[in-house]
């Protein structure tokens, strides 16, 4: 009798545990983008407008949910944008839309989608991360020509953040090569943003040396000799520079630099614009396979198109991304000074070629660190 109870207890307990474990497993699979998935305030906005007569007048469509998988520094941008879009969409079609956001390193986010995270749209830091999705057939081949400006509704560039008063007198790229200057930038092997930094320096060196590749490599190599810490991501580098007080200059996205100043006060840091830099084009795309499966193509497409409207562009500019619409550009021209900008296509070709030549194993970045070089 007692034996039976004991056996039953053990079996029951184990079954319970097994069930718990498998449940955990499923949960994890669904959330593989990490803890960052969240429903933003857009839900509230949608709920508030639900009571207005306008909403009841339109033919009742089922509410829809979108997942936007993005990268780290766009969190604030999309929080604002999602609210605006949900209001616009409901007014246009009477349909309520809730947009969930997921943020993390761009490459990591892309892998999450690759591994099964059901993103309706991706808004990532570089085309390479979307190309990876295209290669597996999740996204159609022509994604980059689907929307204007290479499917990059807003752009940014690479600038320098220095300590107040610019004690080392840093004005342009060559100043970063001086012996007494410590440069902070993340590792291009692990950070998408860092690849833009590296390419900005490389492109500048090409222009200064009549496109001499060897000279450009020497330039970049010397720059990386001055880097004492290679963080794994852009936010890590910002922390190293801002919180730890290490380094004389941080190479950063313009929007990150503005954000650091906004958060920490203009009395501590200032932005230095180099004479020439790269036009960073963070692209957007609808994930074709998933929207077709979920039946969300129409709203997902509208979501990305709305980024190009006056309101979408304004929200981008308010979050320190460079707008592409002329009228909004004009409004914010004081915030974004003219810098001579080159694009990836101008100097390097496609992302695939660039990645292979510079950042893949055995590429130029690896050679920079080979002993004796």
């Amino acid at each position: 009798m007692k034996k039976g109870i004991k056996k039953g207890l053990i079996a029951g307990f184990t079954l319970l545990l097994t069930a718990g474990l498998t449940a955990c497993g499923n949960n994890n699979a669904g959330n593989s983008a990490g803890a960052a998935t969240e429903a933003p305030a857009a839900t509230e906005a949608a709920a508030n407008t639900a009571a207005t007569p306008e909403a009841t007048k339109a033919p009742a469509k089922d509410p829809v949910e979108l997942l936007n998988v993005s990268y780290d520094p766009t969190r604030e941008l999309y929080e604002n944008y999602n609210k605006a879009f949900a209001a616009y969409w409901e007014q246009e079609t009477g349909q309520k839309v809730t947009i969930k956001q997921s943020h993390g390193g761009s490459g990591k986010q892309s892998r999450a989608v690759l591994d099964g995270l059901e993103a309706d749209v991706v808004t990532l830091a570089l085309g390479y991360d979307i190309d990876a999705l295209q290669e597996t057939g999740l996204i159609g081949a022509d994604w980059q020509s689907k929307y204007e400006h290479n499917s990059s509704p807003y752009t940014s560039t690479i600038v320098f953040l220095v300590r107040k008063g610019n004690p080392k007198g840093i004005k342009d790229w060559p100043d970063l090569l001086k012996d007494d200057v410590e440069v902070i930038t993340p590792n291009p092997k692990t950070s998408g943003g860092a690849r833009w930094n590296y390419l900005a320096a490389w492109g500048y060196a090409l222009d200064q040396n009549n496109n001499d590749e060897a000279k450009a490599q020497e330039f970049v190599q010397k720059l990386f000799k001055n880097v004492p810490v290679l963080d794994t991501g852009a936010r890590g580098s910002t922390t190293t520079f801002v919180e730890r007080g290490i380094g004389d200059v941080l190479i950063a996205w313009e929007n990150e630099a503005y954000l650091s100043i906004k958060e920490l006060g203009p009395d501590k840091f200032e932005i230095v614009n180099p004479s020439e830099s790269i036009l960073a084009e963070p692209p957007v795309a609808v994930v074709d396979k998933i929207v077709d499966k979920r039946g969300t193509r129409e709203v997902a497409d509208a979501y990305l198109k709305y980024l190009y409207t006056e309101e979408g562009q304004k929200i981008a500019a308010e979050n320190y991304y460079r707008p592409t619409l002329e009228s909004v550009k004009e409004q914010f021209k004081d915030q974004f000074p003219e810098i001579k900008l080159f694009t990836l296509a101008d100097k390097f070709g496609t992302w695939k070629e660039t990645q292979e030549k510079h950042f893949n194993d055995g590429g130029i970045f690896d050679k920079i660190y080979v002993p004796g070089s």
Binding site: K7, I10, R244, Q355
Partner: protein, 283 residues
């Protein structure tokens, strides 16, 4: 499978006082499979897209080799230091009474509970050039953060509870009569320690060392912050896995992971047999 376990169960239950071998063994195997064996075989399975040539290329790449060197040497150094310090801590905790002992005791487990990233961030803040401790060491020419020394420090922090918690119970059970007997028979303190205490403590110390070492090889969270991640110098092997994934190089990442798995497993195997031998020879 079923038949053999039943037969084994029958054979065992004849000798055992408590029943339930069959069912408990069954569930043990199930758990081990779900939690350890299946994930590991998935790793192997993932690497099937990998040719031997590619595997060899990845495994012998200069940067990969350098990262193994960094990971293994810092983990070994940290585990060695932890073995000495851990013995000392366990000794103090077991043999002496002092105010705040319980607090002290609880503190030892903190590295188990703390998210490793927290450890990494706080150690970096303390030991970077302008941190509280780092700024004092800097004038002495000692740089901790962003050097192998920093990695070792982080791994020491992560590994210390392993040593203390394996040595402590053995030390508690140690028969003090033996030490007293040894002393009354005329052995000096050193001799008593070496001949009486040490043989008992050596096996758990080895276990603690092995656990701390194995943990150190795989540690990621606390190290990426303090190491500075400089290729060829302070880049650890787990970071290279991340770096390969960032290039969507799943096969390459698996290759590094597989080698890491192999090294850890071999280390544990060697140390386990060492321990077996030590236990045998001390009897």
């Amino acid at each position: 499978m079923n038949v053999t376990t039943n037969a084994a169960a029958a054979a065992v239950s004849r000798r055992r006082l408590l029943p339930g071998f069959g069912i408990t063994m069954g569930f043990s195997v199930l758990y081990l499979s779900l939690v350890v064996l299946l994930p590991l075989s998935a790793l192997l399975f993932n690497s099937t897209g990998l040719s031997w040539a590619k595997f060899w290329d990845v495994a012998t790449d200069a940067r990969v080799l350098a990262s193994y060197r960094v990971s293994l040497s810092t983990a070994a150094a940290a585990a060695l230091i932890d073995a000495v310090l851990g013995l000392l801590l366990a000794w103090v905790l077991v043999r002496y009474e002092f105010p705040g002992k319980r607090l002290f005791d609880a503190l030892i487990d903190l590295p188990f509970a703390l998210p490793t990233a927290v450890a990494g961030v706080s150690l970096t803040a303390l030991y970077s050039q302008n941190g509280w401790i780092g700024s004092l060491l800097e004038p002495l020419g000692l740089r901790v953060a962003f050097t192998p020394l920093g990695i070792t420090l982080a791994l020491m922090f992560i590994g210390i509870p392993f040593v203390v918690r394996t040595v402590q119970p053995v030390l508690e059970d140690l028969d003090r009569d033996m030490e007293e007997a040894s002393a009354t028979l005329g052995a000096g303190r050193w001799r008593t320690f070496v001949r009486i205490v040490m043989p008992e403590l050596f096996p758990p110390l080895l276990t603690g060392f092995a656990l701390a070492f194995a943990r150190g090889i795989g540690e990621y969270g606390s190290v990426v912050f303090i190491s500075g991640n400089m290729p060829m110098r302070t880049e650890i092997a787990p970071l290279l896995i991340m770096s390969k994934l960032e290039q969507f190089d799943y096969a390459g990442a698996t290759a590094v992971a597989l080698l890491l798995l192999l090294i850890s497993f071999l280390m544990l195997l060697v140390i386990n047999s060492l321990q077996h031998w030590a236990r045998k020879s001390s009897r």
